[in-house]
Amino acid sequence: MNWRAFIRLVVALLAGAVFGFGLCLSGMINPARIIGFLDIASGRWDPSLMFVLGGAVIVAAPGVMLQRRMAKPILDARFHLPEKSEIDARLLGGSAIFGIGWGLAGFCPGPAISALSTGLAPVALFVCAMAAGMILHDRILPRRSP
């Protein structure tokens, strides 16, 4: 492994830790808070998660502006960015399915993985089911439709 690949691992570890800490500080890691934000008829709606997404985009946007001025990332030969631009049925259908799952229990992938280290059994159950859903989509469903 060359030194740049090693530093990439360190950056990935650091970015993961900053992300995980941010999830805890913001309350995103707590499904009850997510439900409090998504359930708009509860009578005690919690809008604070809009500050989380807003805060995240405020810092990510200058990162994107910087990235657009760079020919390549600091530690790699090229950027690995999604190239698709069309809005298709898979994107919207998949996002709708994800949103329903998110609203049912209050977990999305980042907080669920991060919360595994709290040792709570329902978190492990959610992550196992999510992994099964991903494998089902990536490996089992494609075989059925050519």
Partner: protein, 137 residues
């Protein structure tokens, strides 16, 4: 309305954005947790994705160390609902090529039309699901 902890939410959000910016500028990659987990399950780019996940798992431990108490993680859904929810999140994020992080944070910051459409869709679906689930009260 102002009893909610807005400042920690905002600062926590800024950290999520910082993580996204770091990974983009240094490694040239999108902070997309469903993509990272999906690639791990598919056996692709194992080392950097494991490094990110280890960091993600360390987050609550660092938080507990800094604040002297673990982060609150309260799950009110039944086991059956958690199972169904996990399956839907797994299938949906792979089919829709992203989740709250990849589409909701970085995609929105990049003003990607696909990510904006995905974000509006999963927010709307999440609001409908959570609101309907909360109705029998």
């Amino acid at each position: 309305m102002f009893e909610q902890p807005y400042l920690p939410s905002l600062v926590g959000g800024l950290l999520l954005g910082l993580s996204a910016a770091l990974l983009l500028v240094f490694n040239g990659r999108i902070v997309g947790i469903s993509g990272i987990v999906g690639r791990l399950l598919g056996g692709q780019q194992i080392a950097p994705n494991i490094a990110f996940v280890v960091g993600l798992l360390a987050g609550p431990i660092l938080y507990a160390t800094a604040y002297g108490r673990p982060p609150v993680v309260m799950i009110t859904a039944s086991s059956g609902l958690v199972l169904a929810s996990g399956l839907l999140v797994g299938v949906g994020t792979r089919m829709g090529s992203g989740c709250t992080s990849g589409h909701g944070i970085l995609g929105v910051a990049r003003l990607s039309k696909r990510s904006l459409a995905a974000t509006v869709t999963f927010l709307a679906a999440g609001i409908i699901a959570a609101t309907v689930m909360g109705l029998p009260r």
